[in-house]
Amino acid sequence: MKRSTRKLTKKIIYQILALLLIAFLFLPIYQMLITALRPADLPWKSPASLFPEKITLQNFKSAFDLVPRLPRYLLNSFIYGAGVSIVSLLVAIPAGYAIARFRFRGRKPIMIFVIYANMFAPIMLLVPIYVIMKKFGLVNTYLSVILAGSIFTIPLSTWLVTSYMQTIPKAIEEAALIDGCSEFSVIHRIIIPMISPAIVAVLIYAFITGWSQQFILALTLIKSDELMPITQGLYQFFSRSSVRWNEMMAAILMSTLIPVALFLVVQKYIVRGLVSGSIKE
C-alpha cells in the first residue's frame, strides 16, 4: 500500500516537472501563437491577456503585405539550406569513408582537425571570409553564404559519416574489392546505400543549420533583398524603427513551420547520428 502511494506521488511529481519543462520550452512559441492570432487593430493590453480575446487569421495574410518578399525569403532559405547540405555531403562522404576505412599517415591529425574545426564560429572569421568572397567576386551571391556556411557544418557532418561507417562491417566492401571493383565504385555502389541513415542525418542537420544559423554570415555577405534568407529578411523588419508584432509573429510562425515539421519527421535519424557521432569515436 505504502509503496503504491509513493509510486503515485512520484508519478505526479514527474508529470508536473515534465510539464514545467515543456512550459519553459514553449513559452515564446505560445507567445508567438497568440500574437499571430490576435487582431492587429486591437490595442495592446497591459498586463497582456493570456489568451487572445479574439481570433483572426488576417495577420497571416497581412504578413505578406508587411513583408512582401516573404515567399522569396523562404525560397532563399531553402536554397541556402539545400546548398549547405549538398556541399557538406559532397565533402563528408569521401572524407568520412577515408577516415573510417583507411589507416594512413596523417589520419589522426586530420581527425583532430575535424573536431577542432567544429569549434569555430562565423563571427571569428567574418572579415577574412568577406575579403576572400570579395576576391572571388562572390559577395552578394547564393554561393558565398553556401560555401562559407558549409565550413561550419562540414566538421560534424564528416564526423557523423565516419562514426556511422565504423558501425558497419567491412566484409561486403572487401568482397567487392576482391571482385575487382575500384575504391570509388565501392563508395558509389555499396557504401552510399549502406550509410543512408547517416546521409539523411547529415542532410537534415546541414539543412537546418544552413536554414537557420547563417544569420551573421548573410548579414555581412548578402546585400540585395532578393537573396536574403528568411532570418535576415525578417530581421530587417525587426530592426526597423517600429515593430508590427502581430504580422511579425505570423510571419515567423509561417517560416518556422517547414524546418520544425521536417525536423520532427526525421528527428530519429538526427539523434541517432548525433549520438553515434559525437560520443563514440
Binding site: 514527474y14 515564446p28 563571427i123 565550413i151 537557420s212
Partner: protein, 301 residues
C-alpha cells in the same frame, strides 16, 4: 591506382574547403591583427606591430580596473558559465525525466522537447524579445497572474537582469540538444545495474549518484565542453535582444568584436577586432584540447 593514394584523394575536398575557408581566413586574422585597418577604407593599411594587442589591455571604457577587452572577456566567461550551467542542470533533469518509467506520455514529451531546436536562433530571439516585453509581453503577465511579482519586471532594461535574461534565452536555445544527448547516454545504461541496486536496497538518489552519473560522465563531459564552445561563440541571441546593452552589460567577446569592427571605423577597427578574435581563438583552442582529450579517453575505454 595505388591503394595508398586513395584516402588522400578522398580527403581532397575536405582539405581544400578547410584550407580556403578556415585556415587561410585564420591566417588573415593573424595578419590583420598587426595592421591598422578599417572596413571603410580597405586600401589603407598601416603596419603597427603589437599595437593592437597592446590596445587590448590599455583601452578602457567604464571599468576602472579592466580594459575594454578584458571586461568583455570576463563577461563572456560568466555568461557562458550561466548558460552552460542551466543547460547541464536542466538537461540532466529533463533527460532523467524523459527516461523515467514513472512519466506517462514519454513519446510526446520527447517530440515536444525537440521543437525549439529547429527554430532558427535569430527568430527565437525575436520571439523572446516580444515575450519579455515589460508592458505587453506574456511572461510578465503570467508572473503577475501567479502573484509572483506585483509590478512588471523590465527584463532587458537593467544591466544585471539583461545579463541573466540573455543567457537564459541562450540556454533555451541549447537545451533540446542537451536533453537529447544526455537522454541517449541514459538509454545506453544497462537496466540490470539498476535492478541489482534495487535489490541491495538503494534509493533513487543513491542510484542517481552511484550509477547514472558515473555511467553518463563521458557523455556529459563531451556535451558540456562542446556546448561551452558554442555558447562562447553565441552572437545572434544577444545581438537581437540587447545589442550588447544596457551599458555594455551583455557585450560578450563576439559582440565586442562585431561592435569594434563596425563602430570605430575611423579608428582602425578591423585590426583591433582581429586581435580580439585571436584571443577568442586561443580560448576556444584550449577548450578544444580538453574536448579532444576526453574523446580520446572515451576511445581507450
Amino acid at each position: 591506382m595505388k591503394r595508398k593514394a586513395v584516402p588522400y584523394i578522398l580527403l581532397i575536398p575536405l582539405v581544400v574547403a578547410f584550407a580556403l575557408f578556415l585556415v587561410y581566413p585564420l591566417y588573415k586574422v593573424v595578419e590583420t591583427s598587426f595592421y591598422k585597418a578599417s572596413f571603410l577604407n580597405p586600401f589603407y593599411r598601416q603596419f603597427v606591430g603589437f599595437e593592437n594587442y597592446k590596445w587590448l589591455f590599455t583601452f578602457r571604457l567604464f571599468d576602472p580596473k579592466l580594459s575594454y577587452f578584458l571586461s568583455a572577456f570576463k563577461r563572456s566567461l560568466l555568461w557562458v558559465a550561466g548558460s552552460v550551467g542551466i543547460k547541464v542542470v536542466l538537461g540532466l533533469l529533463g533527460a532523467v525525466l524523459l527516461n523515467s518509467k514513472y512519466l506517462i506520455g514519454k513519446k510526446i514529451y520527447r517530440t515536444l522537447v525537440i521543437v525549439p531546436w529547429a527554430i532558427p536562433w535569430a527568430m527565437a530571439a525575436m520571439m523572446w524579445a516580444w515575450t519579455l516585453n515589460s508592458e505587453f509581453g506574456i511572461l510578465n503577465s503570467i508572473l503577475m497572474h501567479l502573484h509572483l511579482i506585483k509590478a512588471p519586471v523590465t527584463f532587458l532594461a537593467k544591466p544585471s537582469s539583461a545579463f541573466i535574461t540573455t543567457f537564459i534565452v541562450d540556454a533555451w536555445v541549447g537545451l533540446p540538444f542537451m536533453i537529447i544527448m544526455i537522454l541517449s547516454g541514459l538509454q545506453s545504461i544497462p537496466e540490470n545495474l539498476y535492478e541489482a541496486a534495487t535489490i541491495d536496497g538503494a534509493g533513487d538518489l543513491t542510484k542517481f549518484f552511484k550509477i547514472t552519473l558515473p555511467m553518463i560522465k563521458p557523455v556529459l563531459l563531451t556535451v558540456t565542453l562542446l556546448s561551452t564552445v558554442w555558447t562562447f561563440n553565441s552572437f545572434d541571441i544577444i545581438w537581437i535582444l540587447t545589442r550588447g546593452g544596457p551599458i555594455r552589460a551583455t557585450e560578450t567577446l563576439p559582440i565586442a568584436i562585431y561592435n569594434i569592427s563596425f563602430l570605430m571605423v575611423r579608428f582602425g577597427g578591423i585590426g583591433k577586432a582581429s586581435a580580439m578574435t585571436i584571443a577568442q581563438v586561443i580560448f576556444v583552442s584550449v577548450i578544444a584540447i580538453f574536448y579532444i582529450r576526453t574523446l580520446e579517453k572515451g576511445v581507450e575505454a
